[in-house]
Amino acid sequence: MASAQDVAGGVERKGVHRRLTASEVAEAAERRDIRNRWYLILPALVIIILAAIGPLLIMVVYSFLAKGDYGGVTATFSTDAWVSVVLERDIFDDTLSFADAHMIIFWRAVSLAAYTTIATLIFGFPTAYFITTRPERQRDIWLFLVTIPFWTNLLIRTFAIQELIRRDGIFNNLFQWLGIIDQPIQMLDTDFAIALGMVYVYLPLMVLPIYASMEKLDFRMVEAGYDLYAGRLAVLRRIIIPLVKPGIIAGSILVFIPAIGAYVTPALLGGGKKMMVSNLISLQFGQGRNWPLGAALSITLMAVVLAALMLYVRNASRASVRTH
């Protein structure tokens, strides 16, 4: 009996031992796996550090240095740049006053980006819906058409729009020839021109993510909505929009971020009469010779974008959760 027990115990012990080894092997493999994963993302990490985090750090450092006389910075700590983001120093008596010019420019950038986001959403959502509801083969053609503008340089496209809406441009000539107007209308160098250009440039960035979401939408949900007495508007509001919301949020972010720093479009179509935040920043690094202020303004802009997005995403995700 005793020997049998011993054998049983031995087997058991051996079993335990073997099991431990197996789990150790598994752990070691997992450790190795994780280490390999780090090697795999190393190139990406290097690029992110060099191209994104590095420049950002430089900007932060520069914003706390004093400006050099001919641009650049001097290695002395100074908060002058941050003070002049919000406050203006009078050149004669050195008194500080609120820098409302900066605030107006910031506000202009935020509102232009917001309008652009809303306008591209209004035009982009039906476009995405239209493409989604086409037969599968046609969809590729429509998507291709949406992405065509990306093939041409932004500057060239903006000049093309200028050509269209100039005083003696194609639109004015066409409308006059058709007898719709007798005097050419001023379109170039107006807010309308900026709006037109912004929507034109950023529309694909709204359409594509919404399409990607909508393509996954199960249209039987829509039928279920109709079946349960929801009219067309209710189906749109209560079923389609909540279900494609990830696409709407992604599209809004993709449009809002570049739109807030838009440079070419407002300058060329708006006539440069109103300074945009990107003009303001580039001015500091150029003729203004105030790199610290430029850096501080850039960081402020980034903070504004982040705050706006956080607010938006929070509201958007809360709106869909209703409780009975």
Binding site: R220, D227, L228, Y229, A234, I239, T323
Partner: protein
């Protein structure tokens, strides 16, 4: 008026696509579905049963013909104005809403007060025995539970007609059996007309008040499960539902709704029932269900004779596979009993007795 018509289809044709490529999913279908009835559309996939359901729901519109709901043509009504609700095959529950919100959605859209919606949701949850899952997301519940939610959601607005599109096909066997009983109970308790689509003949037989058997865009036969099973009018119906033996014969006379048929195999004459309004003459096919015939010795009691090729014991019953004298095959299913064990063996010559009301003449 228990027998008032709830839904009536008159010469409904549905063609998908146009011209040469057009597919006739339904071809001149006429059927009347009575109030409070559990009515089943039964047929193989592609027979048009789901199309007919979608036409009633309003997701598609008939190419020809009209559909009446309580005598009123519903062609001009969009789906959201029809007092009809659907339980979808895939359930189609709204993933961004809770179980309770799903069930209350229809009533909410009808503009009912929050209190009324809440009360009704509670009532429906109790009806499908899911009270405790009200605030769950639909992704957090099992397939069987989703099925119940889909049912509760469709029943909550108290539709005049409930359409069920193969609602049990995604469930496993055990759950399907439970839900069959559950559905029958719900139909009984709510008194709502159910139109149920399935390709499962057993499901159709056990649940329905009446069945319409469909094939290739046509309704072949409408009747009670017993009618359809015992008196199939066409070969397709006889074949699709249950196991069947086919025998060829010549009609020698018709009297009192019965035909006297002289069987080609063996030459014996049997009495067979007829499809209503059918006057057979000459060559006909009769069907005999395996359990409606008895295996007997090859003596004078036998209607047809042959050799026992195979005997399969199933516990409750035994299946006898006979090779008939004319080369045909005939299956008899006989219930087993302890007191009367079977005395036949494989290879024996044996006969089959076909009683007076065991055979049915087919229309085709």
């Amino acid at each position: 008026m228990a027998s008032a018509a709830a839904v009536e289809a008159r010469g409904v044709t549905k063609v998908f696509g146009a011209g040469q490529d057009g597919v006739r999913a339904l071809d001149g279908v006429s059927v009347t579905i009575r109030e409070n009835e559990f009515f089943t559309l039964l047929g193989p996939s592609g027979c048009g049963k789901t199309t007919l359901l979608r036409l009633i729901a309003g997701f598609d519109f008939p190419t020809e013909g009209e559909i009446l709901l309580y005598g009123q043509d519903i062609a001009p009504l969009p789906p959201f104005k029809r007092p009809v609700n659907t339980v979808f095959q895939s359930y189609s529950l709204f993933p961004h809403m809770t179980v309770g919100q799903n069930i209350g959605f229809g009533l909410e859209m009808l503009g009912r007060s929050k209190a009324e919606v809440d009360a009704r949701v509670t009532e429906m949850l109790r009806l499908v025995r899911m009270e405790e899952l009200r605030n769950r997301r639909t992704s957090q519940i099992s397939g069987g539970q989703q099925q119940r939610v889909a049912l509760a959601r469709a029943l909550a607005p108290q539709p005049k007609v409930l359409l069920l599109d193969e609602p049990l096909s995604a469930l496993d066997y055990k759950l399907r059996k439970d839900m069959q009983i559950e559905l029958k109970r719900l139909q009984h308790e709510t008194g709502i007309t159910f139109i149920f689509v399935t390709h499962d003949q057993e499901e159709a037989l056990t649940m329905s008040d009446r069945i319409a058997v469909m094939s290739k865009g046509h309704i072949l036969q409408v009747g009670t499960p017993r009618d359809i099973y015992d008196h199939p009018a066409e070969r397709f119906v006889a074949n699709f539902i249950g196991e069947t033996n086919f025998l060829e014969g010549q009609v020698s006379g018709v009297a009192n709704g019965r035909a006297s048929v002289r069987l080609n195999c063996g030459g014996a004459a049997i009495n067979a029932t007829l499809p209503s309004g059918f006057q057979p003459n000459g060559k006909v096919t009769v069907v005999v269900r395996p359990e409606h015939a008895q295996v007997v010795g090859s003596g004078s009691a036998a209607t047809i004779r042959g050799t026992l090729e195979n005997i399969v014991y199933f516990g409750t019953d035994t299946h006898y596979h006979l090779r008939l004298e004319d080369g045909g095959e005939f299956i008899v299913r006989q219930q087993n009993s302890r007191t009367n064990p079977a005395t036949f063996a494989q290879g024996d010559s044996a006969g089959v007795f076909i009683g007076d009301n065991a055979a049915q003449v087919l229309r085709d």
